[in-house]
C-alpha cells in the first residue's frame, strides 16, 4: 500500500494525476504541468511536501553530534531560526542523503530529510548516536504536514491566507525560519524563487491548503517541482547523487566544510583521500530534442553523463545537469547521445534560472 499525506484527499478531489513517488501516492500535476511551472515563476504556487520527514534533535550534545554527522558545519549557525543545507555522508564519502537543518539553540535542531531515504536516514542517525554515545534525543514527526509556497507573490499570498503571519515572518531573511503559533514558517524552497516552506500539524493542513487556494496560490505537482528545481540548479537525491557519489563530484563541494581541521565528520577522511575528478555543469541543447537523465556526454576532456534533464518551460529549450571531467570549460560545445544520435549542447554554469530570470 502506498503511503499518503494529510493532503491526499484534497489532491484527489482536485483531480490531480497521482503517481507513486518513493512509496508515496503523490500528485504529479493537477492539469498542465507547464502552467504550474509558470505560476511559480511569475506568481505563486504550492506543493505538498509532507512526504518529507521532519526530525527533532535535542540534547546537550546536539551541536557536537551534528558536527560529526554532517559534512556542512552547524557551528556556522548561531542565530535562532537559521537553516543550513548539508549532505550526510557514509564512511566512504558517499551521500546517504541531503537535508536541511534548522538551528533553534545549541541543544535544539530540526532536520528535514527526503521521503525516499527517511527510514535509512533515521536508522543511520540512531546508529551514530549509539556509536558516539552522544547525549541527544531524536524524534521523528509523522504528525506534521509541510506545504511549500513558492513564487514572487508567495509570501504576500501566504500572509493573506494566514491571518497574523505577516508580522512574525515579514522580517525573515532567506534561509531563516520562525515559529508562528503551531506553524514553522521558513523562507526556504526548492524552486529558485522566493517563498516559504510551512510545517504545521497534519490536522490543519487541509484548511491551510484551502486558504492558500482562496488567496490565489496555484496547486502544483511533483512534475513542476522537478522542472523548477532543475532550472534552479538544485540536485535531486537518488538522481544527481547517491551513496556511490562523492559530493565533490556532484556539484556540492560548497556544502562540504573543511575549514575546521579538527572536525572529523563522517566521510571526511574518504573525501580528503579522493579529490574531485568530475564537475557538475549545466547543458543547454543547441538542437531540437529533449535531454534526459543518463545520456552519454562526449567532451574534448573525456566522457560524462547527464544526471537529470528536461524541457525547460522558462527557457523553452532542453536543459540538463551533466557530470563531466574537470577539464570541461563553461561555454564549450559538447555532444550528447540522444536516442542514438549525437546532438550538440553548450555547457553553462548552474543555475539556469533564478527569481524568474534566465541566467544563461
Amino acid at each position: 500500500m502506498a503511503r499518503i499525506t494529510p493532503l491526499h484527499a484534497v489532491h484527489v478531489a482536485a483531480g490531480a494525476r497521482m503517481v507513486d513517488f518513493a512509496g508515496w501516492d503523490m500528485p504529479v500535476n493537477y492539469g498542465s504541468q507547464i502552467e504550474e511551472h509558470h505560476a511559480v515563476r511569475s506568481d505563486a504556487g504550492m506543493f505538498d511536501v509532507s512526504h518529507m520527514l521532519a526530525l527533532d534533535l535535542t540534547g546537550a550534545d546536539a551541536t557536537t553530534f551534528l558536527r560529526t554527522l554532517l559534512a556542512n558545519d552547524v557551528a556556522k549557525l548561531t542565530v535562532p531560526g537559521k537553516a543550513l543545507y548539508s549532505c550526510m555522508l557514509n564512511d566512504e564519502g558517499g551521500v546517504i542523503d541531503d537535508l536541511i537543518v534548522y538551528y533553534f539553540a545549541a541543544d535544539t535542531f530540526r532536520i528535514v530529510v527526503n521521503a525516499g531515504t527517511a527510514d535509512k536516514d533515521v536508522a543511520w542517525m540512531r546508529k551514530q548516536i549509539a556509536r558516539t554515545g552522544a547525549n541527544v534525543t531524536l524524534d521523528a514527526h509523522r504528525d506534521l504536514a509541510m506545504i511549500a509556497v513558492q513564487g514572487p507573490n508567495a509570501r504576500a499570498k501566504t500572509w493573506h491566507a494566514i491571518p497574523g503571519s505577516e508580522s512574525a515572518s515579514a522580517g525573515l531573511k532567506p534561509f531563516f525560519a520562525a515559529q508562528v503559533g503551531d506553524m514553522l514558517i521558513a523562507r526556504t524552497g526548492y524552486t529558485g524563487e522566493d517563498g516559504f516552506e510551512i510545517t504545521l500539524p497534519a490536522t490543519q493542513a487541509a484548511d491551510l491548503w484551502q486558504s492558500l487556494t482562496a488567496a490565489g496560490v496555484a496547486p502544483c505537482g511533483l512534475g513542476a517541482r522537478d522542472t523548477l528545481r532543475l532550472e534552479a540548479g538544485m540536485n535531486l537525491y537518488g538522481q544527481d547523487m547517491d551513496e556511490a557519489t562523492s559530493p565533490l563530484n556532484a556539484g556540492l563541494s560548497w556544502t562540504v566544510d573543511l575549514k575546521d581541521a579538527d572536525r572529523a565528520f563522517i566521510g571526511r577522511a574518504a573525501l580528503e583521500a579522493a579529490p574531485a575528478t568530475q564537475q557538475m555543469l549545466g547543458l543547454v541543447l543547441l538542437e531540437r530534442g529533449v535531454l534526459r537523465a543518463h545520456q552519454q556526454v562526449f567532451t574534448d576532456a573525456g566522457e560524462g553523463e547527464t544526471t537529470s534533464g528536461t524541457f525547460s518551460p522558462t527557457l523553452q529549450q532542453a536543459i540538463a545537469f551533466a557530470r563531466v571531467p574537470l577539464g570541461v570549460a563553461v561555454g564549450s560545445t559538447v555532444e550528447v547521445d540522444i536516442r542514438g544520435k549525437r546532438l550538440k549542447a553548450r555547457t553553462v554554469k548552474l543555475p539556469f534560472v533564478r527569481n524568474g530570470q534566465s541566467l544563461i
Partner: protein, 127 residues
C-alpha cells in the same frame, strides 16, 4: 474517455484513420496525450521511409517522458505533420485533429485487423 468510434487503434495508443486515397493517418489517442502530459517535442518520420508493422518510427516527448510511436501496419511513410512539429502542444489540445504522420499500407487488409474503439476502450481503461 474520448475514443471516436470511426477510428482504428493499437494497444500502444495510436489511432488510425482510413483515408479515401488508400493511405492511413496516424496519431496518438486522447488517453495517451493525457498520460504523457505537456508535449514539448515531436520527432516524425520522413516521407519515403518504408516501415514494418510495430517498428518505432516517431517519438513524442512530454516534459515528463519520451514515448515511442510505432507503425501500426507495414507500409511507406507518405507525409509527416510539419504543423504539429512546430506546435507539439497542439497534440494535447486535440489529439485526433493533430495527426503525426500518414502511411500507405503494404496490405490494406492489415488495417482491418487493428482494434476497434470498443476493444481499445477496454485497454485504455486498464492503464
Amino acid at each position: 474517455m474520448n475514443i471516436p468510434a470511426e477510428l482504428k487503434y493499437t494497444k500502444s495508443h495510436e489511432w488510425i484513420r482510413r483515408e479515401d486515397d488508400g493511405t492511413v493517418t496516424i496519431g496518438i489517442t486522447d488517453h495517451a496525450q493525457e498520460a504523457l502530459g505537456d508535449i514539448v517535442f515531436l520527432d516524425l518520420p520522413e516521407a519515403g521511409r518504408v516501415v514494418a508493422a510495430g517498428e518505432e518510427c516517431a517519438v513524442v516527448e512530454s516534459v515528463k517522458a519520451a514515448s515511442d510511436i510505432y507503425a501500426p501496419v507495414a507500409g511507406e511513410i507518405v507525409a509527416a505533420n510539419d504543423e504539429a512539429l512546430d506546435a507539439p502542444e497542439s497534440v494535447n489540445a486535440d489529439a485526433y485533429a493533430n495527426w503525426l504522420f500518414k502511411l500507405k499500407p503494404a496490405n490494406a487488409a492489415d488495417v482491418d485487423a487493428l482494434l476497434d474503439a470498443a476493444a481499445y476502450a477496454d485497454i485504455a481503461a486498464d492503464n
